[in-house]
Protein backbone atom coordinates (compact mmCIF):
# COMPACT_ATOMS: atom_id res chain seq x y z
CA UNK A 1 0.00 0.00 0.00
CA UNK A 2 1.25 3.44 -0.92
CA UNK A 3 1.40 5.78 2.06
CA UNK A 4 2.78 8.75 0.16
CA UNK A 5 -0.15 10.88 1.28
CA UNK A 6 1.63 10.90 4.63
CA UNK A 7 4.55 12.71 2.99
CA UNK A 8 2.21 15.50 1.96
CA UNK A 9 0.75 15.74 5.42
CA UNK A 10 3.27 18.18 7.03
CA UNK A 11 2.26 21.16 4.87
CA UNK A 12 -1.34 20.27 5.48
CA UNK A 13 -0.69 19.88 9.17
CA UNK A 14 0.93 23.28 9.45
CA UNK A 15 -1.84 24.96 7.53
CA UNK A 16 -4.57 23.34 9.58
CA UNK A 17 -2.71 24.00 12.79
CA UNK A 18 -2.51 27.69 11.88
CA UNK A 19 -6.23 27.74 11.25
CA UNK A 20 -7.38 25.38 13.94
CA UNK A 21 -9.90 27.79 15.43
CA UNK A 22 -11.32 28.46 11.97
CA UNK A 23 -11.75 24.77 11.29
CA UNK A 24 -13.70 24.32 14.50
CA UNK A 25 -15.96 27.22 13.62
CA UNK A 26 -16.60 26.05 10.08
CA UNK A 27 -17.44 22.50 11.10
CA UNK A 28 -19.48 23.54 14.14
CA UNK A 29 -22.70 22.46 12.45
CA UNK A 30 -21.39 18.93 11.83
CA UNK A 31 -22.84 15.85 13.52
CA UNK A 32 -20.76 14.38 16.39
CA UNK A 33 -19.12 11.63 14.29
CA UNK A 34 -18.16 14.11 11.56
CA UNK A 35 -16.70 16.45 14.17
CA UNK A 36 -14.58 13.58 15.48
CA UNK A 37 -13.31 12.89 11.97
CA UNK A 38 -12.30 16.52 11.49
CA UNK A 39 -10.73 16.76 14.93
CA UNK A 40 -8.76 13.54 14.57
CA UNK A 41 -7.58 14.41 11.08
CA UNK A 42 -5.94 17.45 12.62
CA UNK A 43 -2.22 16.81 12.79
CA UNK A 44 -1.90 17.77 16.43
CA UNK A 45 -4.46 15.19 17.47
CA UNK A 46 -2.96 12.11 19.15
CA UNK A 47 -5.09 9.83 16.94
CA UNK A 48 -4.17 11.55 13.66
CA UNK A 49 -2.25 8.59 12.19
CA UNK A 50 -4.98 6.09 13.03
CA UNK A 51 -7.80 8.31 11.73
CA UNK A 52 -5.92 9.05 8.49
CA UNK A 53 -5.18 5.36 7.95
CA UNK A 54 -8.81 4.48 8.63
CA UNK A 55 -10.04 7.09 6.17
CA UNK A 56 -7.59 5.91 3.54
CA UNK A 57 -8.80 2.34 3.98
CA UNK A 58 -12.47 3.22 3.62
CA UNK A 59 -11.75 5.42 0.59
CA UNK A 60 -9.92 2.50 -1.01
CA UNK A 61 -12.86 0.19 -0.36
CA UNK A 62 -15.31 2.75 -1.73
CA UNK A 63 -13.14 3.18 -4.85
CA UNK A 64 -12.92 -0.58 -5.40
CA UNK A 65 -16.67 -0.93 -5.02
CA UNK A 66 -17.24 1.90 -7.50
CA UNK A 67 -14.80 0.40 -9.99
CA UNK A 68 -16.70 -2.88 -9.83
CA UNK A 69 -19.98 -0.98 -10.27
CA UNK A 70 -18.65 0.65 -13.46
CA UNK A 71 -16.75 -2.41 -14.67
CA UNK A 72 -18.89 -2.71 -17.81
CA UNK A 73 -17.12 0.39 -19.12
CA UNK A 74 -13.76 -1.29 -18.83
CA UNK A 75 -13.93 -5.04 -19.27
CA UNK A 76 -10.16 -5.14 -19.69
CA UNK A 77 -9.63 -4.04 -16.08
CA UNK A 78 -9.66 -6.91 -13.61
CA UNK A 79 -8.09 -8.37 -10.50
CA UNK A 80 -4.82 -6.77 -9.40
CA UNK A 81 -5.18 -3.93 -11.89
CA UNK A 82 -8.54 -2.95 -10.39
CA UNK A 83 -6.97 -3.04 -6.92
CA UNK A 84 -4.14 -0.84 -8.16
CA UNK A 85 -6.50 1.75 -9.64
CA UNK A 86 -8.55 1.72 -6.42
CA UNK A 87 -5.37 2.37 -4.46
CA UNK A 88 -4.48 5.31 -6.71
CA UNK A 89 -7.99 6.75 -6.39
CA UNK A 90 -7.88 6.47 -2.60
CA UNK A 91 -4.45 8.06 -2.50
CA UNK A 92 -5.44 11.06 -4.62
CA UNK A 93 -8.77 11.48 -2.84
CA UNK A 94 -6.94 11.38 0.49
CA UNK A 95 -4.69 14.24 -0.63
CA UNK A 96 -7.75 16.24 -1.68
CA UNK A 97 -9.62 15.58 1.55
CA UNK A 98 -6.64 16.59 3.69
CA UNK A 99 -5.96 19.69 1.59
CA UNK A 100 -9.57 20.85 1.68
CA UNK A 101 -10.64 19.79 5.13
CA UNK A 102 -10.92 23.48 6.05
CA UNK A 103 -13.78 23.70 3.58
CA UNK A 104 -15.88 21.04 5.30
CA UNK A 105 -18.87 22.87 6.74
CA UNK A 106 -20.81 19.99 8.24
CA UNK A 107 -23.62 20.28 5.69
CA UNK A 108 -23.37 16.54 5.11
CA UNK A 109 -21.72 13.70 7.01
CA UNK A 110 -17.95 13.91 6.78
CA UNK A 111 -17.74 10.49 5.14
CA UNK A 112 -20.24 11.45 2.41
CA UNK A 113 -18.20 14.59 1.75
CA UNK A 114 -15.02 12.49 1.54
CA UNK A 115 -16.62 9.85 -0.74
CA UNK A 116 -17.39 12.61 -3.21
CA UNK A 117 -13.65 13.06 -3.77
CA UNK A 118 -12.95 9.39 -4.29
CA UNK A 119 -15.87 8.93 -6.71
CA UNK A 120 -14.62 11.90 -8.76
CA UNK A 121 -11.18 10.25 -8.83
CA UNK A 122 -12.73 7.01 -10.10
CA UNK A 123 -14.50 8.93 -12.87
CA UNK A 124 -11.34 10.73 -13.86
CA UNK A 125 -9.13 7.65 -13.90
CA UNK A 126 -11.65 5.50 -15.75
CA UNK A 127 -12.04 8.23 -18.39
CA UNK A 128 -8.28 8.33 -18.91
CA UNK A 129 -8.11 4.56 -19.11
CA UNK A 130 -10.95 4.47 -21.66
CA UNK A 131 -9.50 7.33 -23.70
CA UNK A 132 -6.23 5.47 -24.15
CA UNK A 133 -8.13 2.51 -25.62
CA UNK A 134 -10.84 4.32 -27.60
CA UNK A 135 -10.97 3.71 -31.38
CA UNK A 136 -10.35 7.12 -33.03
CA UNK A 137 -13.42 6.71 -35.24
CA UNK A 138 -15.73 7.10 -32.25
CA UNK A 139 -15.03 10.83 -32.07
CA UNK A 140 -14.89 11.41 -35.82
CA UNK A 141 -17.87 13.58 -36.89
CA UNK A 142 -17.88 11.86 -40.29
CA UNK A 143 -18.53 8.56 -38.59
CA UNK A 144 -22.01 9.54 -37.38
CA UNK A 145 -24.68 6.90 -37.69
CA UNK A 146 -28.18 8.17 -37.12
CA UNK A 147 -30.51 5.43 -35.92
CA UNK A 148 -33.04 4.07 -38.36
CA UNK A 149 -36.21 6.02 -37.73
CA UNK A 150 -38.27 4.26 -40.35
CA UNK A 151 -38.19 0.59 -39.44
CA UNK A 152 -41.19 -1.05 -37.84
CA UNK A 153 -43.71 1.77 -38.16
CA UNK A 154 -46.74 2.23 -40.42
CA UNK A 155 -46.10 3.44 -44.00
CA UNK A 156 -47.38 6.97 -43.36
CA UNK A 157 -45.26 7.30 -40.24
CA UNK A 158 -42.26 5.91 -42.12
CA UNK A 159 -42.38 8.73 -44.63
CA UNK A 160 -42.71 11.37 -41.91
CA UNK A 161 -39.92 9.82 -39.89
CA UNK A 162 -37.65 9.79 -42.94
CA UNK A 163 -38.37 13.45 -43.58
CA UNK A 164 -37.73 14.30 -39.94
CA UNK A 165 -34.47 12.39 -40.08
CA UNK A 166 -33.48 14.30 -43.22
CA UNK A 167 -34.09 17.61 -41.48
CA UNK A 168 -32.01 16.43 -38.56
CA UNK A 169 -29.13 15.31 -40.80
CA UNK A 170 -29.09 18.65 -42.57
CA UNK A 171 -29.24 20.56 -39.31
CA UNK A 172 -26.32 18.56 -37.90
CA UNK A 173 -24.26 19.30 -41.00
CA UNK A 174 -25.27 22.91 -41.61
CA UNK A 175 -26.55 24.53 -38.42
CA UNK A 176 -24.18 23.30 -35.74
CA UNK A 177 -20.78 24.85 -35.23
CA UNK A 178 -17.88 22.44 -35.87
CA UNK A 179 -17.40 22.03 -32.13
CA UNK A 180 -21.09 21.43 -31.46
CA UNK A 181 -21.17 18.87 -34.28
CA UNK A 182 -18.10 17.08 -32.98
CA UNK A 183 -19.51 16.89 -29.45
CA UNK A 184 -23.04 15.92 -30.49
CA UNK A 185 -21.89 13.18 -32.85
CA UNK A 186 -19.46 11.70 -30.34
CA UNK A 187 -21.70 11.73 -27.28
CA UNK A 188 -25.28 11.56 -28.55
CA UNK A 189 -24.75 9.34 -31.57
CA UNK A 190 -21.59 7.37 -30.90
CA UNK A 191 -21.95 6.95 -27.12
CA UNK A 192 -18.51 8.31 -26.25
CA UNK A 193 -18.49 9.05 -22.48
CA UNK A 194 -18.42 12.78 -21.80
CA UNK A 195 -15.25 12.63 -19.67
CA UNK A 196 -13.45 10.69 -22.40
CA UNK A 197 -14.38 13.28 -25.00
CA UNK A 198 -13.28 16.05 -22.62
CA UNK A 199 -9.83 14.42 -22.48
CA UNK A 200 -9.78 13.96 -26.25
CA UNK A 201 -10.57 17.64 -26.84
CA UNK A 202 -8.39 18.90 -23.99
CA UNK A 203 -11.44 20.38 -22.32
CA UNK A 204 -13.56 19.64 -19.25
CA UNK A 205 -16.89 17.99 -18.57
CA UNK A 206 -18.80 21.22 -17.99
CA UNK A 207 -17.60 22.89 -21.20
CA UNK A 208 -18.37 19.79 -23.26
CA UNK A 209 -21.79 19.51 -21.68
CA UNK A 210 -22.50 23.16 -22.59
CA UNK A 211 -21.58 22.38 -26.24
CA UNK A 212 -23.91 19.38 -26.17
CA UNK A 213 -26.75 21.32 -24.57
CA UNK A 214 -26.46 24.13 -27.13
CA UNK A 215 -26.31 21.63 -30.01
CA UNK A 216 -29.40 19.80 -28.83
CA UNK A 217 -31.34 23.02 -28.34
CA UNK A 218 -30.36 24.22 -31.82
CA UNK A 219 -31.36 20.91 -33.43
CA UNK A 220 -34.73 20.94 -31.66
CA UNK A 221 -35.26 24.46 -32.95
CA UNK A 222 -34.41 23.37 -36.51
CA UNK A 223 -36.86 20.46 -36.32
CA UNK A 224 -39.62 22.67 -34.91
CA UNK A 225 -38.90 25.33 -37.54
CA UNK A 226 -39.28 22.72 -40.30
CA UNK A 227 -42.63 21.61 -38.93
CA UNK A 228 -41.44 18.68 -36.82
CA UNK A 229 -41.75 19.79 -33.20
CA UNK A 230 -40.95 17.10 -30.64
CA UNK A 231 -43.20 18.40 -27.87
CA UNK A 232 -46.52 20.20 -27.57
CA UNK A 233 -44.69 23.24 -26.19
CA UNK A 234 -42.47 23.41 -29.28
CA UNK A 235 -45.52 23.01 -31.52
CA UNK A 236 -47.19 25.99 -29.86
CA UNK A 237 -44.09 28.20 -29.83
Amino acid sequence: MSDSWRVAAPSYRKRVYDRHVGVDQRSAAADPVSRRWVEQLHSSHPRYEQAAARLHDVLRRAALHELHRRRALLPSLAGPELDDVAQQCAHDAMLNVLARIDDFQGLSRFTTWAYKFVIFEVSSKLARHTWQRLPPSRTDPEWAELPDMAAGVRPGEQAENRERLGVLRNAIEQDLTPRQREVFVAIALNDVPIDVLALQLDSNRNAIYKNLFDARRKLRGCLAGAGYPLTDEEAQA
Partner: protein, 77 residues
Amino acid sequence: MMDVRELDELLRAQEGDAGCDAGVPIMDQYVELELRGEDPSERFPGTAIHLRVCPGCRADHDGVLEAARRFGGVEPD
Protein backbone atom coordinates in the same frame (compact mmCIF):
# COMPACT_ATOMS: atom_id res chain seq x y z
CA MET B 1 -36.53 1.70 -34.53
CA MET B 2 -36.46 5.29 -33.45
CA ASP B 3 -39.69 7.19 -32.90
CA VAL B 4 -40.45 10.77 -31.89
CA ARG B 5 -40.15 9.93 -28.21
CA GLU B 6 -36.68 8.47 -28.70
CA LEU B 7 -35.64 11.41 -30.84
CA ASP B 8 -36.89 13.70 -28.07
CA GLU B 9 -34.66 11.73 -25.69
CA LEU B 10 -31.68 11.99 -28.07
CA LEU B 11 -32.11 15.78 -28.18
CA ARG B 12 -33.06 16.26 -24.56
CA ALA B 13 -32.24 19.77 -23.38
CA GLN B 14 -34.23 21.17 -20.51
CA GLU B 15 -34.29 24.79 -19.41
CA GLY B 16 -33.09 25.30 -15.86
CA ASP B 17 -30.30 22.73 -16.21
CA ALA B 18 -27.58 23.85 -13.78
CA GLY B 19 -24.75 22.15 -15.71
CA CYS B 20 -21.96 19.90 -14.47
CA ASP B 21 -19.94 22.28 -12.30
CA ALA B 22 -22.88 23.36 -10.13
CA GLY B 23 -23.30 19.83 -8.79
CA VAL B 24 -19.71 19.32 -7.68
CA PRO B 25 -19.73 21.30 -4.42
CA ILE B 26 -23.20 20.17 -3.35
CA MET B 27 -23.18 16.51 -4.42
CA ASP B 28 -22.70 15.32 -0.82
CA GLN B 29 -25.58 17.49 0.43
CA TYR B 30 -27.78 16.30 -2.43
CA VAL B 31 -27.10 12.68 -1.53
CA GLU B 32 -27.69 13.26 2.17
CA LEU B 33 -31.13 14.71 1.44
CA GLU B 34 -31.97 11.57 -0.53
CA LEU B 35 -30.73 9.31 2.24
CA ARG B 36 -32.99 11.17 4.69
CA GLY B 37 -35.95 10.56 2.38
CA GLU B 38 -36.22 14.22 1.39
CA ASP B 39 -36.58 15.54 -2.15
CA PRO B 40 -33.30 17.18 -3.23
CA SER B 41 -34.97 18.78 -6.25
CA GLU B 42 -36.69 21.26 -3.93
CA ARG B 43 -33.37 22.63 -2.73
CA PHE B 44 -31.29 21.99 -5.84
CA PRO B 45 -33.74 22.09 -8.78
CA GLY B 46 -31.10 22.87 -11.43
CA THR B 47 -28.92 19.96 -10.39
CA ALA B 48 -31.94 17.64 -10.23
CA ILE B 49 -32.68 18.49 -13.88
CA HIS B 50 -29.04 18.08 -14.79
CA LEU B 51 -28.72 14.65 -13.20
CA ARG B 52 -31.59 13.39 -15.35
CA VAL B 53 -29.78 14.26 -18.59
CA CYS B 54 -26.01 14.06 -17.94
CA PRO B 55 -24.79 10.45 -17.76
CA GLY B 56 -21.38 11.48 -16.38
CA CYS B 57 -22.76 13.43 -13.44
CA ARG B 58 -25.46 10.84 -12.85
CA ALA B 59 -22.81 8.13 -12.58
CA ASP B 60 -20.91 10.24 -10.04
CA HIS B 61 -24.08 10.91 -8.08
CA ASP B 62 -24.99 7.22 -8.05
CA GLY B 63 -21.48 6.38 -6.88
CA VAL B 64 -21.55 8.83 -3.98
CA LEU B 65 -25.03 7.63 -3.00
CA GLU B 66 -23.91 4.00 -3.10
CA ALA B 67 -20.75 4.71 -1.09
CA ALA B 68 -22.68 6.71 1.51
CA ARG B 69 -25.23 3.91 1.86
CA ARG B 70 -22.65 1.14 2.05
CA PHE B 71 -19.85 2.78 4.03
CA GLY B 72 -21.60 5.77 5.60
CA GLY B 73 -21.49 4.59 9.19
CA VAL B 74 -17.69 4.42 9.45
CA GLU B 75 -16.25 6.21 12.46
CA PRO B 76 -12.69 7.43 12.94
CA ASP B 77 -12.06 5.33 16.07
